[in-house]
Amino acid sequence: MSDYAIIGKRMPRVDSRAKVMGKAKFTADLQLPDMLVGKIKRSPYAHARIINIDISKAAALPGVMSVVTGKDTAGMKWGVFAYTRDQQFIQTQKARYIGDEVAGVAAIDEETAQKALDLIRVEYEELPPVFDPMEAMGMETELIHKDFPNNINIHVNIDTGKVDENFEQSHYIREDTFVAPEESYFQAEPYAVVARFDSDDCLEVWMPNGGPHMKSKPLSNAFKIPLHKVKVRKIAIGGAFGGRSEICPVDYICALLAKKTQRPVKIKFTREENTIATRQGHAMITTHKTGVDKEGRVLARETTCYMDGGAYSSTGPIATSVPFLSMEQAYRMGSVRYNGYRIYTNKPIRGMIRVHGRSFAAGLDTQLDMIAEYLSIDPVEMRLKNSRQQGEYTSTQSFVASCAMDETIHKAVEKSGWKEKFGKLPPFQGIGMGTNSVQTGFPMGIRGGSQAFIKFNEDGEATVLTGVVDNGQGNDNMVVQIAAEELGLLPEDIHLVSADTETTSSDPGSYSQVSTFVGGQAVQVAAKNCRAKLFEVAAKVLKVEPSTLAAKNRLIFVKDDPEKSIPIKKVVRISLLNFKSVNAEGGYWPKVDMKREWVSNPHGQMCEAFSFGTTIVEVQVNSSTGQVKVVNATAAQDVGFALNPLVLEGQFEGSIAMGGQGGMLTEYHEWKDGRCLNPTMLDYKLPLACDMPKIDSIMVESVDPKGPYGAKEAAMSIAMSAAQAYAAAVSNAVGVYMDSFPLTPDKILAAIKSKGGKKLG
């Protein structure tokens, strides 16, 4: 459909050569002269008052260069929002989960640092802990945070009105509750930080991050130094999946140790620390009540969700909203009432994760299947009757400018052979579908936009400066593709300077699936501006109007007479000799409703574009063991426009693995008295190569009017809908609508036993 030279092509990623050679440096790979080893002392208690911390023995140990406690941080607190600033960088009064930071040390080597941790004496007074969110709301003992009655951290209430009236008019109403425990990111790379203060008292810091500018601001606040003195550097990042966006206490502690010792300090998390002391996915209890008319159209819905938020707020207001938002985007509803409660417990901190709310999303679709069965409607029809359409507004008043939800459903149905299979498969085989929608961006205030800068070098190659960060999803390549396309260069002519707060302008990072839409678009605007300057000079040389020109393959040429051309390198040199700038900037700010606020005003334009996805999976359940073999997964998403199908396929496939295969079959945490029993890769079951089904990826292109080349968020709708499809397929195979996720063999066997294995559908 396009005549792009580079955009839309299957282009191998620019960062992959260094990665296959083992040359790409991740944070833990960094070795700086005189670098010290930092370690964190953590609370062994889930809820305890800190009476006293004696660091004298640790500080006296030869080789220990610094020991820091809450006394050094003066109780400074962090929170994403002003009203959620509840986490001290180092605790001074209370520990609120097993793993809470109480001290940090820097020493000449790991062994000494470890010994020093053991020599720090912390005197605690144990307090009654609470691990269950429902119990936490009724606790009469000490609150986890004194300003939050009933341990309720966040309450999001959305009500469109007419909900009760519409329930009264409904032909059929169901109310069902779905549950799922916590899960973890298990990024391949354990978290690590390297920090140093340079001779100008600038903080230089490296860490895996979802946005360098999201890290630099809180560090600037904490150290009370200007932003230009906080240099978050680019580094290879081994995955994020939503878990590395915020500042982490260890970022601050590492920098504080570097400041005190005036030496570089590296803190490397163990796998257990990465699980316990970064973020986890929320455990959720979700009740959906849905009323439909005779045709299956949803007239009213009431959803109540209780989320186990763990010890601190983190992204609480966002986390409490996003599961609902995905649902309200995916489906039309006559009216809806939502009450989301995020509740403090004495467990690790919960944040955003790739499939945020598996009980929420999979519960909703399971209930739709239940209603469809009652009304004798095919699940596909059920979704088509309620699916979001282009040009509509969501329940919270976001305009949907582009939407090809129905096309994703039709294409997935056709490719998967749904019509030949649904209701016709042998016993213990099943097929199921899920549909979902994900935001391309959140309202992010001052950091919602991105600015890029492009400079041409006299050899005709270009350097692109952008704050866009690559967590592994291919953002570096995305930026290079866009710049090369617009400038008429080849990808190898583009030098990328990115994700570095000293040299790049503010950018939202990869947070909220916005890198291409906002960061990529800023690069596109900058490149267009730069190209316009070159065209002006080239037009004079070629004696034509600038508007008649195009650029491709290192040449500027007349569109209607391509023989008439001039090399870009020559234009750059002519420009410089004629005192004309060959550099340009560009920016993009998404047109969102800046008054929209997660709790106080959850209405208005959420983001400029939404993705829509459908996943269908086919499974075989072993009725003796309860194990599930996934035969095939079909993933179809409206991505707006596929900038690089090779990269997008990889994102789709990874989404099936995390959202479906791991998220719905094997991944969950187990606990004893607030202690996570499976924090390592040995105990927590991640999908392996031998587990994965064949995956068919279908990219649907609605060409969003605002997205760069029409692109919007890619593959998160697959991760979400995969969770729903896995639930539906297993339910279909065993003849029981499953309501507790993930679908482990014990639950599946119990379901088979309870219902005698009657087929659904």
Binding site: A24, F186, M692
Partner: protein, 168 residues
């Protein structure tokens, strides 16, 4: 514990290093020799990111003592490319989009390379089994499996092999 001086042959180069008896091969590679291509992902032999070859066999360098590696030929991810030219398997990983964050990639490459030396034409199930000691959190494995299957053997039906042939 006393440090012992040993010689390790890594990527055909001998290195003299002083190690503690309990130093793992991974610690020596990363901390003493700055060969940081081998990654520490779990430190308990599960994730496979630290996989290297010892006399041609894939081993977990986080579970291998440096002392055990004396007298053997060690190959790490840094030893796969020759004079800056990628091996067929490395090139295939690039062409097929088998690399996302890249943290598991060195281990995947070493596991895949050992498989292909043992069995130059493995079927898909064999590849999946051979890679099942290596955890990838990004890719869902599909493109990694394809990259191993097509390494050095461009497939007419594969658009990404075609790209590679044109480039060459």
């Amino acid at each position: 514990m006393e440090k012992i001086e040993i010689t390790l042959t890594i990527n055909e180069t001998p290195y003299e290093v002083r190690v503690l008896p309990n130093d793992t091969l991974l610690e020596v590679l990363r901390d003493k020799l700055d060969l940081t291509g081998s990654k520490e992902g779990c430190d308990e032999g599960v994730c496979g990111s630290c996989t290297v070859h010892m006399d041609g066999k894939p081993v977990r360098s986080c579970l291998t003592l440096a002392l055990e590696a004396q007298g053997t030929q060690i190959k790490t991810v840094e030893g796969l490319a020759q004079n800056g030219e990628l091996s067929d398997l490395q090139q295939s990983f690039v062409d097929h989009g088998a690399v996302q964050c890249g943290f598991c990639t060195p281990g995947m490459l070493m596991a895949g390379d050992a498989l292909l030396k043992d069995n130059p034409n493995p079927d898909e199930n064999t590849i999946r089994r051979a890679l099942s000691g290596n955890i990838c959190r990004c890719t869902g494995y599909a493109k990694i499996v394809e990259a191993v299957a097509h390494a050095g053997k461009p497939q007419a039906h594969c658009p990404d092999c075609q790209t590679s042939k044109q480039d060459n």
